[in-house]
Amino acid sequence: MRKRAVKMSCFYIPAICLILFFVVRPFCETVYVSLCKWNGYSPQKLFIGFENYMEMFSDKRLLTAFINTLIYGLVSTVFQNVIGLGAALFVNSRFKGNNLVRVVIYMPIMISSLIMGYIMYFFLTYDNGVLNDILGAFGMGAVDWLADGKNGVLFITLINTWQYAGYCMIIYLSGLQNISKVYIEAAQIDGAGCFARFRYITLPMLIPAITSAVMIDLVGGLKIFDGIISLTNGGPNYSTHSMMTYLNSQYFLSEKAGYASAIGITTFIMIMAVSLFSNRYFERKSIDM
């Protein structure tokens, strides 16, 4: 019996070796580099302790990137869940062609968000941009959308929401299909209206689905990278960077590997904290219900 358990534990070996060497080792190396002054390729690393972390506090561009990351994470999570739940309820209601709607809403997830950013670029250019054409049709003047960082942040959030709302929809759809009709019928007999049925039956039963949808969206939004690279590349004037794209620019362009690692470790801790916190929150919620 014991021998069998030991033998079975050998099954872990390939996966663990890969993860140890290609995730854990790089992680430790990143932590070490974050304590050094290093340009990314010279053989010498100069150990400087927590100076890189101290530098972060006085970096205004990083502060912008931090705030943007929170917007990308939190706002698109809220939007995606609202839209995803709405779409799930809509597709779940009976009408001809609901499958087509489901298939189409899920489709953008297949496309790399880098390429999606470029496709959206065709909508937002000043000359010949589709959005300006639509505005023009209503007699409004053309706007250079990406010249203003605030608009850039808004559009990146919206595109991220639009592209990944289908993910939420599928999660909610499977949640909805797990709710037994009996509860809803019982409530109907008790005279509960449409809204009351949703509030007191559907919503509480969806808590597990909400938990996974929120977690996935939060983590996805906080580590957003490709979509920004293709749409604004962090510009104009560093106003649309997220933590990840700012890290990229510090490492790739400014050759500050130490500082970039410090940003990376901080972002990692931030994502861990946010997801653990929201997981706890929902666990408590589901006990309350």
Binding site: R102, I119, F122, G129
Partner: protein, 279 residues
């Protein structure tokens, strides 16, 4: 008679069809715009919403000639297949003891795997890059395959683990009674039942590897090793004036994925559920 009821039903549900049409427009317009743009010459300054008067294939010719996109599709294909193979094999192996044992090792493995699942790859790109430099894996297939497999494994282990839990343990025990070893039990009893979840793991991993951009940017540095996303990026970067050619390049990049999706969309939906909903 039947026609009348159908008409009635449409009339009753007209607002649903209105919403449905709006959703379809919002979701299909970007694809339409990029296709239309790719079929117009650069000199055509009509709105991108208006279909071309005559179809202009030159952009595609340029995209194929200037961007090496065919080579990139080959590279992405090799990288995706390699990653998926490793993730499937190592994933279901590791999930088996994790699902069957209730000891301390399997518990700590589970926590470890869930923790790794949350690590954003880009946040430790400095470490990944130095690690790969130290083993001379920059611009090699195996370098990027190993990294994407390592980051994809936690999800696959998680999905397999949930699935194996649902297989009755009495099957394993019956096999042991009959004298089968651990390996034989796994390969003859468990493995044949894993087909549905394997389809999910394969599709989820394939899409994320195919679309990966963050660390490929650092790992694939030689131009002939570029994958699809890097090639599209390069084309848009170099030819900002030739947006129509770039649109053609983007269309070539997304068409294979969309076709696969349309044929297998049922499995993609299942895969999403398997990866998101706790079992």
């Amino acid at each position: 008679m039947k026609k009348a009821t159908l008409k009635q039903r449409v009339k009753q549900n007209w607002w649903k069809y209105l919403i449905a049409v709006c959703i379809l427009v919002v979701y299909l317009l970007p694809i339409y715009v990029v296709v239309v743009t790719s079929l117009k010459p650069v000199t055509d300054h009509t709105s991108r919403l208006i279909p071309p008067t005559e179809i202009y294939w030159e952009n595609y010719v340029r995209a194929f000639q200037n961007s090496n996109i065919l080579n990139a599709i080959k590279n992405s294909f090799i990288i995706t297949v390699g990653t998926v193979l490793i993730v499937v094999v190592a994933g279901c192996l590791a999930a088996y003891p994790m699902a069957r044992h209730r000891n301390r090792l399997s518990k700590s493995m589970k926590t470890f795997v869930l923790g790794v699942m949350m690590v954003p790859g880009m946040s430790m790109v400095v470490g990944i890059y130095s690690t790969l430099v130290s083993i001379h894996a920059i611009s090699t297939y195996w370098g990027i395959i190993a990294v994407s497999a390592a980051f994809g494994l936690p999800m696959s282990i998680y999905m397999y683990c949930n699935f194996i839990r649902a297989i009755p343990i009495s099957l394993d025990e019956a096999a042991y009674m009959d004298g089968a070893g651990v390996l034989r039990t796994f390969f003859q009893i468990i493995l044949p039942q894993l087909k549905p979840v394997t389809a999910s793991v394969v599709l989820m991993q394939a899409v994320s590897t195919w679309n990966e951009y963050g660390y490929s940017l650092y790992i694939l540095q030689k131009k002939e090793m570029y994958n699809v996303t890097l090639t599209v990026k390069q084309f848009f970067g170099e030819q900002m004036k030739d947006l129509n050619g770039a649109a053609a390049c983007a269309v070539i990049a997304i068409v294979p994925v969309i076709i696969v999706y349309l044929f297998l969309q049922k499995y993609f939906v299942q895969g999403t559920m398997d990866s998101a909903v706790k079992g």
